[in-house]
């Protein structure tokens, strides 16, 4: 089992959700995040002072899947979010999960994940 953590652009979430659904993946958790990377910084102006904001709004997507689904998730995300030449589209990290428990039933392991 793997935990896939993807840092994506907020506006791409709806499309990614749709893409994931095509692979029968519809369970996930998101949090609101801010990220700093190589993206072009946003300019902000306030009271005559202009300022570069490098911490930009991101969505942090967490999907726990059984191993055979990992590629599908990666494909779905990259398909939507890939824009040639545009920096700052985000990253995906794959982490190992040792155990997964469905809270409702106490059920464990690979069947509990979905």
């Amino acid at each position: 089992m793997k935990l896939i953590i993807a840092i994506i652009q907020p506006e791409e979430l709806p499309a990614i959700k749709e893409e994931l659904l095509k692979h029968q993946i519809y369970k996930f958790t998101i949090t609101n995040a801010k990220g700093q990377g190589k993206e072009i910084p946003v300019q902000e102006v306030y009271r005559g002072i202009s300022h570069e904001i490098t911490l930009l709004n991101k969505v942090r997507l967490e999907i726990a899947v059984n191993d055979e689904y990992v590629d599908a998730v990666i494909d779905a995300i990259t398909l939507v979010a890939k824009h040639e030449g545009d920096k700052g589209r985000g990253k995906i990290f794959i982490l190992p999960i040792e155990e997964c428990i469905r809270i409702r039933t106490g059920e464990k392991g690979s069947t509990a994940i979905g």
């Binding site: 907020p10 506006e11 749709e18 998101i30 300019q43 102006v45 306030y46």
Partner: protein, 433 residues
Amino acid sequence: MKYFKPIYIMALLTGGLVMADSSEAALFTVNNTWMLVSTILVFIMHLGFATLESGLTRAKNTVNILFKNVSIIAIGLLTYAICGFNLMYPGEFSLGGVFGFAGWGISVPQGAAGLVEYADGAYTYFTDFIFQAMFAATAATIVSGAVAERVKLGSFLIFSTLYVAFIYPIAGSWKWGAGWLDQIGFYDFAGSTLVHSVGGWAALVGAVVLGPRIGKYGRNGKGTIPIMGHSMPLATIGVFLLWFGWYGFNGGSVLSADPGPVSFVFVTTTLAAAAGVIGAMTLSWTISKKPDLSMVLNGSLAGLVGITAGADVISPMNAVIVGYIAGLLVVSSVMFFDRLKIDDPVGAVSVHLTCGIWGTLAVGIFSPEHQFLTQLIGVGAYGLFCFVSALGLFYGIKTAIGLRVSEQEELGGLDLGEHEMEAYAGFQIFTVE
């Protein structure tokens, strides 16, 4: 005894104030004071619009909406001083009841002429100007809500300036300026048509020309998706302030403090607003199964717009009916325009146009002195003129410099795109869905 600050110009101004007796002076003063209080009340309606519109749209476009509302009132007031006032009240028409112009700028009639004689001792020239000027900006503000969240700031400001400087006062002159519609007996007490529909038509045209916001009518035809406003408290503040200001809008339109008519107008205005709330509540609760605050808020405004044309000629009992029907209408109208895929984020078209038309026609129904047909002619004439003008302006601007922000800017929000600023710095706001 306290010391009085000397007011030099006062002597100059009041020099003309020689009246038959001082009781006339007293009546003049109270009439004028009420008109000024009404002016202030109409002023605060602009804060009402600003908060209502920003409350019913998303947090990422809030700075933009506030900016538009602050600008519009400034532009509206200044252009009204430059030409609007003299277009709306030309005195004489150069083009048979349709167009007249009394010259640029505001020109103070000297002495008593500008004061007591100006309006038969009801108010001064300055009072007249400032009261009417506050009305002017309203029409443009109505548009702002309907085109929110996707219109380019510069394009919108150009549209507003032209609309408020020329279209609104010319249209207004037909009735309030004693033009052709006034002559055939058309009636619109405080502006269901002259203010609200004039704004409403432009709002409709703007919403159509711009097209809906991204995601409103479903990706892949998934049906209509609600785009929730980001702050119901702000929206509620807006509605209460509008209702509050409406006492000046309607009450001041009596053009004096005459106790009978002003208090009568207060009663009809209040009951119509209350009935609008109940009308919208019953219908939206029935349809959606749940009581929808945003609809109920619109309901009170619907009642207010509805009674505005006939607040002085419709009885309190009938005012309840007019308001209640307006409340039903606004809910139906919002759903109707959604079905047509015309995206009006705050329901400006439904409140101001639909109910403005209803209110104008209601005068023909509930007031024996007025004719339904004449009212219909008025509604039609204004509709035609405003629709065509707004369409011309919007298309002209679209061709010249474009109307709509880029897709990326719309998704990221106009606050960052147009202003490089956030409305709620520090707050965590989810920009998905």
